[in-house]
């Protein structure tokens, strides 16, 4: 694997680390399997691409993307909490609806962002002046940004409010008896989760130079893969570590994919990516069970 390909994989891993953090909130904290993210990721990319192409400040565009993502998450959570629609189904409905919304937002299936000013531009210019190659500056910038979000999230989850959210997902009846408004926490948690995923989509558009309506296919699986890979490698308790595990898992997942694609003798093509991802996620899901069996025998 060339250095270029390596740092490219790290970069993509860092972009998707935000998806992993979002999926951690929905799946792990709230126990709410939320497939909305397959629609929120391209939504974030679409909103950002259209706004940047329209001359907006890229940071502002990213913030608007997050708000759009949060709104999509709110729809899913509201339908599920208020009307008791099964969470999985509610999220699939929102996801399907978002496909149309994304097409409407962009007005066409994809928008290119070549030569537009992005959040990265000033740092790339600065890197140029300092003699640092682009393929290092880009992951470095993403690393700092994602780390800030991971730290913020870890701090939130150990606060009274964050603890209440965790209790909501772990034991709703007990949470209610402790005066925690369970519904409100599901709404805000799923909104937060989707805001992070939309930001990931926004960064994806900015680092790759385009937004595409199909870019979201399998986002949930990639996010889940990152969370599970991270948990398998860093199984210790503690929230800060869990956030770091999400980041590490996301990067390792991308490196593994890159590595597999580079191994010519396996004969994998880019088209096999989704199959390989599904197999990897399945493997990491059943690994703990296989281990248990081995111990029992």
């Amino acid at each position: 694997m060339s250095a270029f390909a390596f740092f490219g994989a790290v970069e993509l891993g860092l972009v998707y680390a935000l998806v992993a953090l979002g999926v951690y909130i929905s799946f792990r904290v709230l126990d709410f399997p939320d497939l909305t993210v397959d629609g929120t990721f391209p939504l974030g990319a679409a909103v950002t691409a259209v706004l940047i192409a329209g001359g907006w400040n890229p940071w502002l565009a990213a913030i608007v993307s997050m708000i759009a993502g949060a709104a999509a998450g709110l729809v899913t959570a509201y339908v599920s909490v208020r009307f008791k629609v099964l969470h999985l189904l509610a999220s699939i409905l929102t996801m399907i609806a978002l496909f149309s919304v994304n097409l409407r937002v962009m007005g066409r299936p994809n928008v290119a962002l070549l030569n537009e000013e992005t959040m990265l531009t000033p740092f790339l210019t600065w890197g140029d002046a300092a003699g640092m190659p682009d393929y290092i500056v880009r992951p470095l910038f993403l690393f700092v940004l994602v780390t800030l979000f991971a730290l913020g999230l870890a701090r939130f989850l150990v606060s009274d409010l964050g603890l209440a959210m965790r209790a909501t997902g772990a034991n709703a009846r007990m949470a209610q008896a402790q005066g925690i408004p369970v519904g409100a926490h599901i709404l805000s948690g799923i909104a937060l989760s989707n805001a992070l995923v939309a930001l990931s989509g926004s960064l994806f558009a900015q680092t790759n130079g385009f937004a595409d309506v199909t870019a979201g296919v399998g986002t949930i699986v990639v996010g889940l893969a990152a969370v599970i890979v991270g948990e398998t490698l860093l199984p210790r308790r503690g929230l800060l570590l869990a956030m770091i595990a999400c980041m590490v898992g996301s990067i390792l997942y991308r490196l593994a994919v890159q590595f597999a694609l580079n191994l010519d003798f396996i004969g994998l093509q880019a088209a096999d990516l989704n199959l390989a991802t599904a197999v990897l996620v399945l493997f990491t899901l059943i690994l703990p069970r296989l281990r248990q069996k081995g111990r029992a025998a």
């Binding site: 009274d160 603890l163 005066g179």
Partner: protein, 264 residues
């Protein structure tokens, strides 16, 4: 203080399996009163507790807690006024969270939950002191998941959790029923001493007539959704389990066949 005024609750209304769970229950518990509730299965004991806590909505009637009308409030909005301990040790605490986090959740009950650290220094000191005085060594394990504790330990901590925040009303729903005798007695003693120390208003559902006479200041018997017997003071002190059974037979007009009621 708890006041319940002609409370009606019906389950599955309008269906073939309609059942009147509470029919016109009225009850006043002064602050500091410790009331034990007995009755056979389906008498409405748990429904009464559920209605006061907000899990079960009253069909008609009025419930006030410390003078505040809570009849229409959902459970989470009443939590600042009333604490509960469930029969199932797994229900009242969160196995996936640590012991310290469980206690912190309870300590914030009734307050606005903000972005301050849940286990900040001053709260941690309070929690440590409360766990240490139990004398069962759990103070060293605050960082461990609640799920690693035994049922008795969890129920003991649930009691501590119920008395962490300033609310003075505690509802206990057969909170020792799932424990072995030794643990049950430990938890009951703790219940009595915490009730005295914090001058709590306690409503305790139990299946044991012995407990219903030995603990607290008042005994209440429910049957088919109504209060059939209410005793306190000197009269209660002279009562024995046999007397209670007799009262029950008279009220019910038939002999007693429910084994669970006799147990303990």
């Amino acid at each position: 203080m708890i006041t319940v005024d002609s409370l009606f609750v019906t389950f599955n209304r309008g269906t073939p399996i309609e059942r009147k769970a509470l029919s016109g229950v009225s009850l006043t518990l002064e602050k500091g009163e410790f009331c034990c509730v007995i009755g056979s299965n389906g008498a409405g004991k748990s429904t009464l507790l559920g209605a006061i806590a907000g899990d079960v909505m009253a069909e008609s009637g009025r419930i006030t807690l410390d003078g505040r009308d809570v009849t229409r409030l959902p459970a989470e909005k009443r939590a600042g006024l009333v604490a509960r301990v469930f029969q199932d040790p797994l229900a009242g605490s969160c196995g996936a969270l640590t012991i310290g986090e469980n206690l912190a959740l309870a300590a914030a009950r009734g307050n606005r939950r903000g972005l301050g650290k849940a286990l900040g220094k001053s709260r941690m000191e309070t929690l440590l002191a409360r766990v240490e005085e139990l004398g069962i060594g759990l103070e060293k394990r605050l960082g461990q998941p609640m799920g690693t504790l035994s049922g008795g330990q969890r129920q003991t901590l649930s009691l501590v959790m119920a008395t962490l925040s300033p609310s003075s009303i505690v509802l206990l729903d057969e909170h020792t029923a799932a424990l072995d005798p030794a643990n049950a007695e430990f938890v009951l003693h703790l219940t009595a001493s915490l009730a005295r120390r914090f001058n709590l208003t306690v409503l305790m559902v139990t299946h044991s007539m012995r407990q219903a006479l030995d603990y607290g200041t008042r005994t209440l018997m429910l049957h088919e959704g109504g209060i059939i017997f209410d005793v306190q003071g000197p009269e209660r002190a002279t009562l024995d389990v046999e007397d209670l059974l007799e009262k029950f037979r008279i009220a019910r007009g038939q002999s007693l066949a429910d084994d669970r009621l006799l147990a303990g």
